[in-house]
């Protein structure tokens, strides 16, 4: 799958990976073939009282991505992402979006089998 989403604290490849999935600042959607990037704000999910992870999954599902790279994913978001057929690469906090993407391209990121955060 050539299009991936990375949870990002800002709009550029050199911004930090936002460790949160559902309440990430935004998503950098990267086409790995053309290296086109597009930033999608996740502000509407951040302000939700509940269900931010589910809504974030809906947002990136509409982008047709095959993977999302992030830090932590809760159980409801994981269920929604799985339903949408989106694979999850997690525990990538502390990297820049570019570093996470390079690591993905090298094939060293495994598809997560479950949530790595408990839900609320």
């Amino acid at each position: 799958m050539s299009i991936i989403a990375v949870t990002s604290e800002g709009p550029s490849l050199d911004d930090q990976v936002d460790p949160r999935f559902g309440r990430a600042a935004g998503f950098l959607v990267v086409d790995l073939e053309t290296m086109d990037t597009r930033y999608i704000s996740n502000g509407q999910s951040q302000v939700m009282a509940q269900g931010a992870g589910i809504q974030a999954a809906e947002i990136i599902a509409r982008e047709g991505v095959g993977w999302v790279l992030t830090g932590y994913v809760g159980p409801k978001a994981f269920k929604a992402l799985s339903a949408a057929g989106i694979k999850v690469g997690q525990n990538l906090e502390g990297l820049t979006v570019r570093q996470a993407m390079e690591r993905f391209k090298s094939g060293s990121i495994e598809s997560a089998q479950g949530a790595n955060r408990t839900g609320r």
Binding site: Q50, G51, A61
Partner: protein, 293 residues
């Protein structure tokens, strides 16, 4: 008359005051434990339970054979309790607030009402006091839906039981606490004259005074701490209807599950006087506002 016994801070003595008022009530009364997350009024009143029922809330059930994945339900739901992901409808029943909106907007009639268990409502009697209580299901995140069902039961019970009720409210000033006081005629705030007690008392005053109901205070553990809460009540015109002294014999009685009106005749008099002042407070004055408010 419905009296809601509330507080900002937990552990100030709501249940102690509720149980004590119940024992000195001079007529039929329904004593209601609306602290459904941790009900404890029964420990003091020790009613004989005569009935109970499980309370439920409607949540959507999906008939996948009818669903066209149009997403109308998902777009409407503000709580993400239903989500359409490609050719799959996901429901998260624990997130549902039970508004029924998704059922109403579904053009294919693919949704029907299922049930989420909220908890248990039980009732009984001790002397002339009718007891009513809710207990939230372990794992249930929202208490107001169950509280509303307990209050509906109270509404059924009141006419046949004299029309008086005392509600033991949950602590805090968020949705559950507001839900517990919103249908009352008088809100009685139980506080203690400590810095923590005072801080949360101010929050309670801020949360409940806009409701426009008569508000009054009971100072528990009087003699402890400082006088900030007394000054605050004077400034805001909030009547202090009773003080319960900071006294080891009261703590001992409480720890044994006894009602503190049994401790001394003086304490019993204290609560009889509180009962009468509450009645006066609930009675509308000539201006239409309560006499002391």
């Amino acid at each position: 008359m419905i009296v809601a016994v509330a507080s900002g801070k937990g552990g100030t003595g709501k249940t102690t005051v509720t149980a004590s008022l119940a024992t000195v009530w001079d007529g039929p009364l329904v004593a209601v434990d609306l602290d459904v997350e941790e009900p404890n009024l029964h420990l003091f009143l020790q009613p004989a339970i005569s009935g109970s029922q499980t309370a439920h809330m409607p949540v959507p059930l999906v008939d996948e054979s009818r669903c066209t994945y149009c997403g109308a339900c998902s777009d409407l739901c503000q709580f993400k309790a239903i989500s359409v992901m490609g050719q799959l409808v996901l429901t998260f029943p624990e997130m549902c607030h039970g508004c029924g909106g998704c059922l109403a907007v579904c053009p294919e009639k693919a949704l029907s009402p299922g049930q989420r268990e909220l908890g248990e409502i039980s009732w009984g009697r001790v002397g002339q006091v009718v007891f009513l209580s809710g207990r939230l299901r372990i794992g249930e995140a929202m208490s107001p839906p169950l509280m509303r069902r307990v209050k509906a039961k109270l509404e059924q019970m009141l006419p046949a039981n004299g029309g008086d009720a005392i509600i033991d409210a949950p602590p805090g000033v968020s949705c559950p606490a507001v839900n517990a006081v919103i249908d009352s005629d008088v809100v009685l705030l139980v506080t203690e004259p400590t810095p923590f007690g005072f801080y949360d008392f101010q929050l309670a005053w801020e949360a409940f005074s806009p409701l426009g109901k008569p508000l009054a205070a009971v100072i528990n553990r009087a003699g402890l701490g400082h006088d900030a809460v007394y000054r605050f009540c004077r400034e805001k015109g909030l009547p202090i209807l009773a003080e319960i002294p900071y006294d080891r014999s009261i703590a001992e009685a409480y720890a044994r599950g006894r009602i503190i009106t049994e401790v001394s005749a003086g304490l019993r008099e204290n609560f009889i006087s509180l009962r009468d002042k509450l009645r006066d407070l609930a009675r509308p004055g000539p201006s239409g506002k309560a006499v002391h408010a």
